[in-house]
Amino acid sequence: MTSALEDQLRELAPRVLGALVRRYGHFDTAEDAVQEALLAAAQQWPTDGVPESPRGWLITVASRRLTDLLRREQSRQRREERVARWALQGEPVADTDDTLVLLFMCCHPALSPASQIALTLRAVGGLTTTEIARAFLVPEATMTRRITRAKTAVREDGSRFTLPADREERLGAVLHVVYLIFNEGYTTTTGPSLQRVELAAEAIRLARLLHRLLPDDPEVSGLLALLLLTDARRPARTGPHGELVPMAEQDRARWIPELIKEGVDLITATLPHGPIGPYQLQAAIAAVHDESPSAEETDWPQIVALYEVLLQLTDNPMIALNHVVAVAMSRGPAEGLALLDSLENDDRIAKDHRVPAVRAHLLEMSGDRAAARTAYEQAASRTTSLPQQRYLHTRASRL
């Protein structure tokens, strides 16, 4: 399948699913039917040509499939139970884009973040179960079970094709899912390669989609800006052998100027309109980094200030750790090390490889080579990512 066709199908997937669920209901079965229609398109269009109305074609094929699946699946018992659930609910259906409704359905609070991600990638991203399984390095059977369970949970909760009442809360989950998809693509937690570009690209596509649907939400804009500004550094983040290159040593000429400009413009336009949220602040921090000509010339005091606002909004140990780094860069390694001590007692992060990694860097900055070496080795023993292990061992052996 060509990437143009792939893009086209991904773009169409949520709209076809939306149309089907809106017309006929049955989110879980409709979702299977759409996947099958997408596969049929991927096989037939390259040889038969793209039909005149691709969306209409997909809706027709998916509807046909839905009829087949429903006939096979439904026992009378289950139908009756479903009807009984219906009569009890009564909030009005909002006039809104189908894709947005789908996103909210996939980020159902009854689901674990892992299931929310899997369902979002399938229903809104149009990725097949095989692709999602490959991206998250789990066996396909595991991913199939996870998606099936997720769809059942959504159905059993009586989810309806409408924006949920807890929309504001659920938008937080939607943004978080997109953010997690990006992170998994940007810094994979396991396995041989450091980045999975296709996941990062999918997250950016979803963030753009959200931004188009909710252009006035400052956190949606903040998230999109954050992803663009982070992704802009991608070409410089890995060396010729796939090794991790830390930001201070990256060749900034390789950063992608179009993405930086788009991200900076977006966050600059968003910040004055508030209310300020964590994604906007992280985007602002990323913008300071991206606009700085070198690591030394970075406006560290401004970054420290932004992290301090961020820490008031979120109790996140990773942000606290980044704050430590910024403080060390701004006021010297001794102050950074002092702050780091308080994080060592935070259960959520104490066992993570990043704490000794930051400690190692700060010790190296302050000239304590022996202690730095020990800390690098401790960090290497804690990470499961091979490129990160290689990087940390290299740092240790240099000392």
């Binding site: 669920v21 809106r22 017309r23 006929y24 209901g25 809706i59 027709t60 509807s63 046909r64 009807v83 219906w86 009569a87 609910q89 009564g90 009005p92 259906v93 006039d95 309806r160 094709f161 409408t162």
Partner: protein, 138 residues
């Protein structure tokens, strides 16, 4: 998208509504008036929201004629339905936002005032209407 909401009743139900005792309890005149008032409001609300395309009640099953074929000959028969068999009693065609919204409208019918025995087993179907032959095979 247009949807058809269908409600069902047997000849017995129609007889009951007409005040006859037919194995199911007879309606009192005030029961019937309450139902009429409810339906009037139900329909007006749908007109108000712009979602009503059309609604009709069908006459009692006993008044039905069936046209069909027998051994290649056209045949017309009277009253094809058994007393107890539920057949179409009325319908609404609504044009609305989604299948969920059409279901919501139909669910409103659950509040129709009627004798308890009638309410206990009442149901309605919601079916998407097709706009052309393509959708019919789709």
């Amino acid at each position: 998208m247009k949807y058809m909401i269908l409600t069902y009743a047997s000849q017995q139900d129609y007889d009951g509504m007409a005040g006859k005792d037919s194995g199911k309890p007879a309606w009192q005149p005030e029961d019937f008036a309450a139902m009429g008032a409810f339906m009037e409001k139900f329909n007006n609300d749908l007109i108000e929201s712009g979602e009503l395309v059309e609604t009709r009640a069908l006459a009692a099953p006993v008044l039905t004629r069936r046209f069909g074929s027998k051994n290649g000959q056209s045949v017309v028969t009277d009253g094809p339905y058994a007393e107890t068999q539920e057949v179409l009693a009325g319908y609404w065609i609504v044009e609305c936002e989604s299948f969920d919204r059409a279901t919501e409208i139909a669910a409103g019918l659950a509040d129709t005032p009627a004798p308890e025995a009638v309410r206990a087993t009442a149901y309605a179907d919601i079916r998407p209407l097709v706009e052309g032959r393509d959708e019919l095979v789709g």
